[in-house]
Amino acid sequence: MTATSPDPFAGYDCGPYFCELTPGREGDGGAIERIRARIRAIGLDQLRTRADAAETDLINLGVTFTVYSQATAIDRILPFDCVPRVITAPEWRTLEAGVTQRVTAINAFLHDVYHEQRILKDGIVPAELVLGNANYRPEMVGFPVRFGTYVHVCGIDIVRDERGDFRVLEDNARTPSGVSYVVENRALMFRAFPDMMNGIRLRPVDDYGRRLRAAMSEIAPEGVDDPQVVLLSPGIYNSAYFEHVFLAREMGVPLVEGADLFVEDERVWVRTTGGPWPVHTIYRRIGDDFLDPTVFRPDSLLGVAGLIGAWRKGNVTLANAVGTGVADDKAIYAYMPRIIRYYLDEDAVLANVETHICREEEGLAYTLANLERLVVKPVGESGGYGITIGPRATRAELEAARAALLADPANWISQPVVSLSVAPTLTDDGLRPRHLDLRPFAVTGRDTWVLPGGLTRVALKAGSLIVNSSQGGGSKDTWVLEDDESDGASGWRG
């Protein structure tokens, strides 16, 4: 008897969800069927063997994030699933346009709320949501930033509903992370699964560092010819340290810690063996609060005393700018479709997840009437606190939520439970559907560029909707098909 590896897709059933690897999708030009055929040809045993080897590779390479518990630090890899998530050329055109539009609107919004505040005066967004927000920084008022760009690096979390429509779940306009995995995952696929990729034309992802570096140079203070860019990291104990290393290397700039920098004469300098050296752009991967102990948290050892002063003098650029957190807040998210229309006079290319704003009468009425089917979230909190998931709540929990809503409607929004799309994912039972999302990354200096694809995070537990790496999530390589992989596509080039 010859041992043949079982069909990896045997027993795969995506149920009511949209599957990201169903063949014959509009614009896939047959590529998805070819990819499936190759996965079959590789077979389940080989998939497993090579996936294991690939994970060992990641550990050895130190493509890891660090998890701290009491006294120990454990380097963990972001679990990697070897079955790619495929995005067709027409789908990517929609995503790219939608992400660009959203970033443009977010920057226009930030410029406005730190200058004329027209959107508040016109009553489109309630003033107290912005001015009373902990992430609103009065230090930014009236301060000019080059090209009006506040958010230079933006990550937008996008999900896909049952019908396959993309919807934005969240904007990350502070210091979004994860892009290093996009590039590393692709490199890993090239090493471990060349036979799965061979001849399938994919948009490359290895250009990110060069693009980011170019943007960081563009935004340097005016009049500096050859600006010195640095990446400011909290250091090796930060869980995203690998990503900081990755980005510094890909950009070809030094990774610095707060103690490497100092401010003199309202200019920023880096300490080198040859003495102080001027710095013009800081791509910072530390939060606003920690940037400058003389302005924000006085106990911060991660930042640089006097940094904000040097920045206000226009001698150094910070990316992202200070105070962008006011734009990626849950409360503001609900208003994003209106914000886009207000500044760009366009409908949002990418819809929000349907959101009911309970400070508005209509939204409150709908929420109260459909409580058992909705997710109710407080606007001011982060980290999932205070959320009631209607379909999973007890009667008592629903009544408590109702009381809270009535007591202070303005503090709440509600959303339907979104059925995230799925993709075949390697499990002990063979390939099985697992839910996933997508975080594309946009880099903006003078203009916006979106890295083709983005980070696909996948919930490895059956039925789970939680894709976060801290809670059992993994990642997949995200394949954006080139136009000529798509039969119906025009000659469009990004």
């Binding site: 050895n60 390479l61 130190g62 010819d225 050859d226 010195q228 250091g235 090796i236 340290y241 690998f242 290393v245 510094a248 290397r249 030094p254 990774l255 610095v256 810690e257 707060g258 103690a259 490497d260 100092f262 880096v270 300490r271 080198t272 063996t273 040859g274 003495g275 050296w277 050892l301 005393a305």
Partner: protein, 339 residues
């Protein structure tokens, strides 16, 4: 604008990564030579000499080890909390490598990462019988792989010179310790024992330093202990001789000054000159007569002063705020000065 010079923090990290890795390799050599020297009648004496040359008597007692051979091996190879042991040096090397990931090659990082994983989980059974020698080989080869990868992949700007300085200073220091074993071992022995043990033991020491065959090539037919001492201290061609290390330091510092304009190298270069003069000033006979141990002690002190000159010229500057962050290296310096 010209290219950015090296970050002071990277320079310090590279210097210390080089030192710690050299220390890991040399600990394996010291343990190997001790094993070879082990005198059947008094095995613990042999092993305890290792404790003495590292000035670890107090720490060894404090950590509650029994006075037996196995305890010394454990102390240096398995005890993660012993700051003078191999695991602590490996941990410190890897922590430095982590901060240096933006400047070292991916291949260097990957190998160190894997070596670290292996050396932090040595099973106790590896210390017994013939396993120990194999373990020492494994450790040596691990660091030698690092050395080769570094030679073939590490970008040779000033960072490479600081890395090389760290390795050369540590290697010189370790060679003096290897020599010092002789002194400690032979002190309690009678004149006759000394004479008999002597030649075999000098040979064993040369083997531990990977210099036995080279020594035979350049040494007189009926060699004396002073020839071995001269070889390890002042041979101009042997890669582990103190003189060779000193020549390397001189070259590295001169490069830093000439190519990178680092004027802070001047006081360090003066120290190097003194070291060289000290090595060549006296005949080996007079040096041994005056007391080899005291001479070696002097060399070790000079190396500490040299490292301090380099540190204050190039490293201190980057951490005026956060002294706590520099503990690894600060601790390393303290360890050195206690010895």
């Amino acid at each position: 604008m010209p290219a950015l010079p090296l970050l002071a923090r990277y320079a310090e990290g590279l210097f210390w990564m080089g030192r710690y890795l050299e220390r890991v390799e040399n600990l394996a050599r010291l343990i190997d030579v001790t094993q070879t020297f082990e005198m059947p009648a008094r095995p613990f004496e042999s092993w305890y000499s290792l404790i003495r040359i590292n000035a670890d008597e107090e720490r060894f007692a404090e950590r509650g080890y029994a006075r037996e051979s196995a305890a010394v091996k454990q102390f240096y190879l398995l005890d993660h909390d012993n700051p003078t042991g191999m695991p602590a040096a490996m941990e410190a090397a890897r922590t430095n490598a982590r901060t240096l990931r933006p400047v070292i090659s991916t291949e260097m990082w990957m190998q160190l990462n894997m070596l670290h994983r292996d050396l932090m989980h040595i099973p106790a059974t590896s210390l017994s019988g013939d396993h120990l020698s194999r373990l020492c080989s494994q450790i040596k080869m691990g660091v030698q792989s690092h050395t080769g990868i570094t030679e073939g992949t590490f970008f040779r700007d000033q960072g490479w010179l600081f890395y090389g300085l760290g390795r050369a200073i540590e290697r010189a220091d370790q060679t003096t310790r290897l020599l010092d074993i002789q002194y400690h071992l032979l002190m309690p022995a009678s004149a006759e024992e000394r004479r008999v043990a002597s030649l075999t033991q000098w040979g064993g020491m040369l083997r531990a330093a990977a210099g036995y065959h080279a020594f035979r090539r350049v040494s007189p037919a009926g060699y004396q202990p002073r020839d071995v001492v001269r070889f390890l201290l002042a041979d101009p061609c042997f890669p582990r001789s103190v003189l060779m290390c000193v020549s390397q330091m001189e070259w590295q510092l001169s490069q830093l000054r000439a190519t990178y304009g680092l004027r802070g190298t001047v006081p360090a270069l003066e120290r190097v000159e003194e070291l060289r003069a000290g090595l060549l000033a006296r005949s080996m006979d007079s040096l041994i007569e005056a007391g080899l141990h005291a001479f070696l002690d002097g060399v070790q002190r000079d190396l500490i002063l040299l490292a301090a000159e380099i540190g204050s010229a190039f490293f201190r500057d980057w951490r005026p705020l956060a002294q706590a962050e520099g503990q690894t290296q600060t601790q390393g310096t303290q360890t050195q000065s206690q010895a």
